[in-house]
Symmetry: C2
Subunit: 343 residues, 2 copies
DNA sequence: CGGTGGTCAGACAACGCTGTCATGCCCGCA
DNA sequence: TGCGGGCATGACAGCGTTGTCTGACCACCG
């Protein structure tokens, strides 16, 4: 035991401890640890032995602080338990891992103020970059990001203010493919259930629905109901629009949860309407009838976002760009048939 | 501009920069930033103004390094996109957040060696603690954890070696409730489909099935099929056991994916068998017939694990403990009826 | 008027590492 | 023998904070 380590017997050994034991300088230990050249093999071996014996592990915090980078990126979403976000998370983590970075995940729970706080905390930690699914369109963290020069990539929803890299999903194309699919199968009276129009994506999809309807020359009877929706609200609305004059024969739902509500309602009402949902979900194929959906690829979006972020970290200084990721219509039975589904 | 900040014009200001501008010492800036007492109000105000003007933000990396704690915990799972793990992740993140900690998530992709590497990287970063869903039972990171004194909590599966805090799910009770439920509805010939017996949980559930069968005096015809399973393998096996002598009338599936395979197979074979699945899943209620499941509560498990970890961080030195979380049978139609499900 | 105590502020070292530069040594060659 | 050059190694400062200790200043008291 040297005097150096006496005073913190139980503490983790540092390079200084190793250096003392191996009778070399700290710098030499550093060189060995980092496989830098310029160390005689026998010296290196001796150092390695001491490292092993003492159980030394490099303190990355200290290292990274010296180097100015943290090799950490962050992902801020609304709720990690939501399958959409968890798939994004898995993809981002993967991209980070193959680049020797670590990922901090944080939930903002849909609150802009919490999001702001979270981002500030991340900036204070000097994460190298951030991927955010923003809670709203107010660029509330703009100033902080600007001042800290922390690269950021927005996902799924755009943000006002300084132009930033943004990865969006092709909401318009997705909805159009849904409408066209239904029309191709003879539907003309289609209802649209969207989420709270406070959400940018909800508005996008609604607008796309209206536009497409017009461009295809469908009846313009307003059959658009925006949320927030509960199974009950969908139930009630559906029961009206499916009876009365010019009854609807098909439904498009603007997201996962609404699809679910509609499925429940259709079942309860015993209405054999066609359905196309937005967002794919596990087991969509097992529902009866299997549900046709517009599939956005969260993993691809997350991957793209992370790649864009890393491009920035590697020095890409080009103008901020917006990438719109394609959607894909997954045709199952629910959008095709009319009448009682067989089993 | 003082000489201090000249050489890094575009860089982020430090306390030294603020100090120079405000004509105080760095320490005073530190005091203001951390709301320490002993600063005259007008001095504090002046410092705050400079902080604002310069856009200074405390560098938490440096701070934490000085303090020896990182206010970071980590979660290591197999795959963040798996709903079970993402729910765990959300719960752990939540516990971390309310304690001002951040969460690093990492995927080991089921590989023990990757898991080891990941844990070593986390230890090098001096995360304050780790929650792990271990890839296998070999305590391969034991030495590292021991040497670094990093608290760890294992989840879902135990690990050999040094006793550690472990949060498990009551696999035995879960399976027993499933069997009892089926028996109560008149079933006596039940098949069990389990995952690869390499998984501890798979073995647990299988053993529980066998034991319960015996204790209830059911026919001991071996109807246990362990994985890995594909929809095809389940299909083939089911078609045999459902015909022949003493045909099975019910099925228990040992996890999510197998439940799915069984549902597909039952549908294809048009077999009206009863089914109880292990693991709840979104939309289980919407499948036809709605699927009865043994529900483990991933969020509760994650919460419990995080709480246990934080207890350790707060100095709890008591013996490592194993907590078994209860499961709950969610009765839907699939376990009750025999015969063609109504719709 | 000297002593006491309190308040505010700063100097300095330290956290554990790495980048830069200096040093010492040995070798080969003239 | 002297010297240039390459190699192995080390000293030192610095990354941006914070803990500890010291010091200046003032008010108050006997």
């Amino acid at each position: 035991m040297t005097a150096l380590s006496d005073h913190r017997t139980a503490a983790r050994p540092t390079m200084a401890d190793v250096a003392a034991e191996a009778h070399v300088s700290v710098k030499t230990v550093s060189r060995v640890v980092n496989h830098e050249p310029g160390v005689r093999p026998d010296t290196a071996e001796r150092v390695r032995a001491v490292i092993e014996r003492l159980g030394f592990r490099r303190h990355d915090g200290a290292r990274l602080m010296r180097q100015g980078r943290t090799f950490t990126i962050a992902l801020v979403v609304e709720d990690l338990a939501n399958p959409f976000y968890s798939q994004v998370g898995a993809a981002v983590e993967r991209e980070a891992r193959i680049r020797q970075h670590q990922l901090i995940t944080a939930s903002a729970e849909g609150s802009p103020s919490r999001e702001r706080a979270v981002i500030e905390a991340l900036v204070n930690r000097r994460v190298d970059g951030i991927v955010v699914v923003p809670a709203d369109e107010s660029a509330s963290s703009d100033a902080v990001l600007e001042a800290s020069h922390t690269p950021i990539v927005y996902m799924d929803r755009p943000v006002r203010g300084t132009p930033r890299d943004t990865i969006l999903s092709d909401n318009h194309g997705g909805i159009r493919s849904a409408v066209e699919h239904l029309v191709a199968h003879g539907h003309r009276n289609i209802a649209f259930y969207g989420d709270d129009p406070a959400f940018w994506t909800a508005r996008q999809r609604r607008d796309a629905f209206v536009t497409t309807q017009q461009s295809l020359g469908l009846p313009t009877t307003p059959r658009v109901s925006m949320g927030p929706h509960s199974p009950a609200s969908v139930h009630e609305s559906l029961s009206q629009w499916a009876t009365g004059p010019e009854p609807i024969t098909a439904v498009i739902t603007g997201n996962n949860r609404i699809t679910l509500a509609a499925l429940l309602a259709l079942r309860e009402l015993r209405l054999p309407l066609s359905l196309v949902g937005y967002d794919d979900f596990e087991l969509a194929a097992l529902i009866d009838p299997p549900v046709t959906v517009v599939h956005q690829d969260p993993a691809a979006m997350g991957q793209k976002a992370a790649q864009q972020l890393f491009a920035r970290l590697l020095g890409d200084e080009s103008q901020a760009q917006t990438v719109v990721m394609p959607t894909r219509l997954i045709v199952r039975a629910s959008g095709v048939r009319r009448g009682t589904p067989t089993r």
